[in-house]
Point group: C2
Chain length 444, copies 2
C-alpha cells in the first residue's frame, strides 16, 4: 500500500496517543482519542434542555457547550467551537474541511493524556449511557446508492436468474432518491402496512410479511456544491464530513409489488435508521487502501476515475449485523452475529465516485445530505448483509442455535449494525452501532 499523503494522516493518528479519559485507552474501544466522532445529545432526564454537540471519547462524551464555556482554548478554536456550543452541528459542518481538521487537532490535543486543558475539561464529560442521542443533522436529501456488487448480483439472481447484474451496473453507480423525513435514530421501527401481491384478483393491503434490514454505511455531506456545477473526483472527498452506520429497513413484499417502473417507494420510506456518532472522514485515513476492480472489468469512465482514488479510494472497514429475537432476549441469550463483511470488498464504487456521479449532471448536494452506500454484502454466504440474501429470498430460512427459525424479521426482533476499522500499527476506529427493535404493525 502506498504511503498516505499529508494532510490525510497526521499527529491525530499517532497510535501511541492516549487520553486522560481512561476508557478510551482500551484495545476494543470504538472511540479512542484517534477517532473523536461528533454527535448531538440531551443529558438523560433533561427532555427540555437544549440539544448539545459532543465528542465521543471512550464510554464518555465531552460536552462541547461546557467545554467552550469552562476551558481555555487557542484563538483558532473559538470560531470552530461557537456553532458547536450552540448545538448546531450543521453550521460547523458547513465550515468545510479545513475547519474539520483544525477542530480535530485541537480536540486531540485537549483530550490527550498530558493535556494542559485536561483539568478544565474533567467536569465537561458525562457517561454516554446518561445521554439521549439526537439526529446529528437535519437530513436535506437522502440518496441511496447500490454500490454493493455482491448484493446487487445476489438480489438480481433472485429476480433475473439469466441476468443477475444489469448491463449498466459496472458503468453507473446506481442510486435512487430515498425519503429524508423518516431517517432517524429511534430504537424502534414499526412494521409497515402496505399493498402486496395476492392470489386473488386484488392485491392485499396489510402488515408487511417480509420485513428485512440492509447493512449500509451513510456518508454525511458537509459541504455542498452550486446547482449546475459538478464536483470532480479531485474535490469529491472534500464534500464528505463523515460516516455512520445505516439500516435501510426494507419491506420486500411491498417492494416486489410497487417497484416497477419507478423504483422502491413505500417499501423503504417508513424508516431508515442511522447511528448517532459521525466518524470523520479523516479518522479513517489509516485504513485506506487501493480501489481495484476485478481483472477484465471495464475501467471507470474518466469522470469517475482519478489517481488518488485508485491508490487510496477504498476503506478497509469490517461491518457486522447482529440479531436478538424476542425469545433470545427473554431467555437472556446474547445477540447473534448474522454476517460480517467489509466495505472495501463489498463496494464496487468508492465514496468519491458516489459524490462525483451524483453531481455529474449538476445536481446540488447540501450540508446535511445523506448518501447511503447500498447493502454491503461480501461474496460469501456469511457476508450476506440482508435476510433477502441469507435466506435466498425467504426460500431457505436459517436455523438459529436456540431452535428458532429465521426467515424475515419478526416483531420483537432487535437488529444491531456495527462497523469498525483495524489495521496493523493502527488503533481501532469504530462507528459505534445502530440498533432498533421491530414493533407490530398498526391495525388496518
Amino acid at each position: 500500500m502506498r504511503l498516505l499523503p499529508e494532510p490525510l494522516i497526521d499527529a491525530t493518528h499517532a497510535p501511541k496517543l492516549r487520553s486522560w479519559v481512561e476508557s478510551a485507552n482500551t484495545a476494543d474501544c470504538d472511540f479512542p482519542i484517534q477517532n473523536l466522532p461528533l454527535g448531538r445529545f440531551r443529558p438523560a432526564g433533561e427532555e427540555h434542555a437544549a440539544v448539545r454537540v459532543g465528542v465521543a471519547i471512550g464510554d464518555q462524551i465531552l460536552d462541547l457547550k461546557l467545554a467552550t464555556d469552562l476551558c481555555p482554548w487557542s484563538e483558532e478554536m473559538y470560531p470552530l467551537l461557537q456553532p458547536l456550543a450552540q448545538g448546531d452541528l450543521m453550521a460547523f459542518m458547513a465550515l468545510g474541511r479545513p475547519a474539520w481538521r483544525a477542530l480535530r487537532a485541537g480536540l486531540s490535543q485537549a483530550l490527550a493524556f498530558d493535556s494542559e486543558q485536561g483539568p478544565f475539561l474533567e467536569s465537561c464529560v458525562l457517561p454516554q449511557k446518561n445521554a439521549l442521542m439526537q439526529m446529528p443533522a437535519r437530513v436535506g436529501d437522502y440518496t441511496d446508492f447500490y454500490s454493493g456488487i455482491h448484493h446487487a448480483r445476489r438480489v438480481g439472481a433472485l429476480m433475473r436468474p439469466d441476468e443477475p447484474l444489469l448491463p449498466n451496473y459496472k458503468f453507473v453507480p446506481i442510486g435512487y432518491h430515498g425519503r429524508a423525513s423518516s431517517v432517524g435514530i429511534e430504537d424502534l421501527v414499526i412494521r409497515p402496512n402496505g399493498q402486496t401481491r395476492s392470489s386473488g384478483e386484488q392485491p392485499h393491503f396489510g402488515a408487511c410479511k417480509r420485513l428485512d434490514y440492509e447493512l449500509e454505511l451513510g456518508l454525511w455531506v458537509g459541504a455542498g456544491n452550486t446547482l449546475g456545477l459538478p464536483v470532480s473526483m479531485a474535490q469529491a472527498e472534500d464534500k464528505i464530513f463523515g460516516v455512520g452506520l445505516l439500516n435501510d429497513w426494507s419491506a420486500r413484499d411491498i417492494q416486489g409489488w410497487e417497484y416497477q417502473p419507478l423504483g422502491p417507494f413505500l417499501a423503504k420510506s417508513f424508516a431508515t435508521s442511522v447511528s448517532p456518532w459521525v466518524v470523520s472522514w479523516q479518522a479513517l485515513a489509516p485504513f485506506r487502501k487501493p480501489y481495484e476492480r476485478p481483472v477484465g472489468d471495464p475501467e471507470p469512465l474518466p469522470y469517475l476515475d482519478g489517481d488518488f482514488n485508485r491508490s487510496f479510494g477504498a476503506i478497509n472497514m469490517t461491518l457486522e449485523v447482529w440479531l436478538q429475537t424476542a425469545r433470545m432476549r427473554k431467555e437472556r441469550q446474547p445477540a447473534l452475529r448474522l454476517s460480517q463483511s467489509n466495505w472495501a470488498e463489498a463496494a464496487y464504487w468508492t465514496a468519491a465516485q458516489l459524490v462525483a456521479h451524483h453531481t455529474s449532471n449538476g445536481c446540488n448536494l447540501q450540508v446535511g445530505d445523506l448518501l447511503g452506500t447500498g447493502t454491503l454484502s461480501g461474496p460469501l454466504f456469511e457476508q450476506c448483509a440482508s435476510l433477502l440474501e441469507l435466506t435466498q429470498g425467504g426460500k431457505s430460512p436459517l436455523s438459529l442455535p436456540n431452535g428458532e427459525t429465521l426467515g424475515f424479521l419478526q416483531d420483537g426482533d432487535t437488529v444491531t449494525l456495527r462497523g469498525y476499522c483495524t489495521a496493523p500499527g493502527a488503533v481501532r476506529i469504530g462507528l459505534g452501532q445502530v440498533t432498533a427493535t421491530v414493533l407490530p404493525a398498526l391495525a388496518c
Copy 2:
C-alpha cells in the same frame, strides 16, 4: 354534480365579488379576488432586502409585511399575519387549515371593492413585474407520482408494446422519491451531462441529447403527520396547503440507461421547476367534480376510497404547455401551444389518494413537502404533456409553423406551463405560469 359541502365553498367564492385592485376584475385574469394565492418575493432592485410574503391580486402583489404594519386588522388576523409579515410562509402553512381559511376570508374582505381597509392597503401594493419571486417554501422531501394514466400507458407502450400498463398501475398510486435540493423557480435550466448508451463497448458521457419537459402539478404539503401514523382519506385533503405548476425536466437518454433497477435518478435531479404562487386548495372548490374510473376498472382498495373522494375528489383544471424556440424569439413570434390537457381527465388518482397512499406505511409528511402528480397527459395527441409522447419517443418530430423541426428540446428553447380552472358561474382561477429557458451543457 353534487352540491359542494361547507366549509369547502363560502363567500370568498362569490362570483360577483370584485376588488379595488382594478386589474383583478378582468375576465382572463389568473388572480381575481376569488383566488388569493400566496408567494414569496423581493422587490426588484432590493437584492439584500428580506424576503416578503405577498398575495397575488390581478397584476399586483399585496405585500403582507406592509399590510400588517400599515392597516388595521381584526384581532383574529394578527396571529395569522405575524409569520407572513416576517416572510415565513412555512410557519403560516404549519398553522393548519382553519388558519388558512381564516386568512383567506380576512384578505378577501380587505381586498374587496368596498373594503374599509382599502385606503390603508393602497400603499401596500406593488406590480408583479417589479418583484423577484422566491421559492414559496424550503422543500423538505419531494415525491413524484405517476398518476397520469394516459402518460403511463403511452410511455409504457414505447418500452413494452405488449404490456403498456403494468399490473400494479390501477391499484398502486405509483410514485418515487425525487430530488428536493434542485427544485426551484429559476427561469434557466442547464442541459445536464450524463451517461448514455452508445454503440461502442462503453457508454457515452456527455450532454443530454433527449431533453424533455413534463407538465405536472405540485401539491404543497402544509400539515404533516407523525412518523408511524397514516393519514386516512378523510383527513388527507387537510394536509394540502395548495397547488402550483411543476415542470419535471427529464433527460430521456440518461434515464433510459440508468433507471433499472431502482428508478430515475440523475435523469431528473438536475432541475425541477415550480411556479411561484401557491393557489390554495380552497380556491379550487368550485371546480371539483366526481372521481370516476372507467367502467370495468377495479375499485380503489378501501384505504384509497371514500364517499367525499368519489363525489368531489377530482378537479377540473386546464393545463397547457407553450414553447418558444430561440428562432421564434429572435423573429418575434409568440410562443406556440404544444398541448392542452385537463387534470381530472388525465389523472387516475386524486390528490387525497396520493396523500393517503404516501402515508399508508407510516411515512411522515412535513410542512413544505412537495408532491408531484406525474405528467398530466390526456388520451388525445394534442393532450400529450411531454415531448416523449408528442414525438413518439423522438421517432416522429413535429413540424413547427415556422419550418423548424421539434424533436427534443434545443438550447434556447423556452418552455412555459400554464394552468387554470373555468366553470359556468365561477370566476376563472389560474395558477400563473412556470417558464424556463434551456442553457447549453457545461463542457466535460
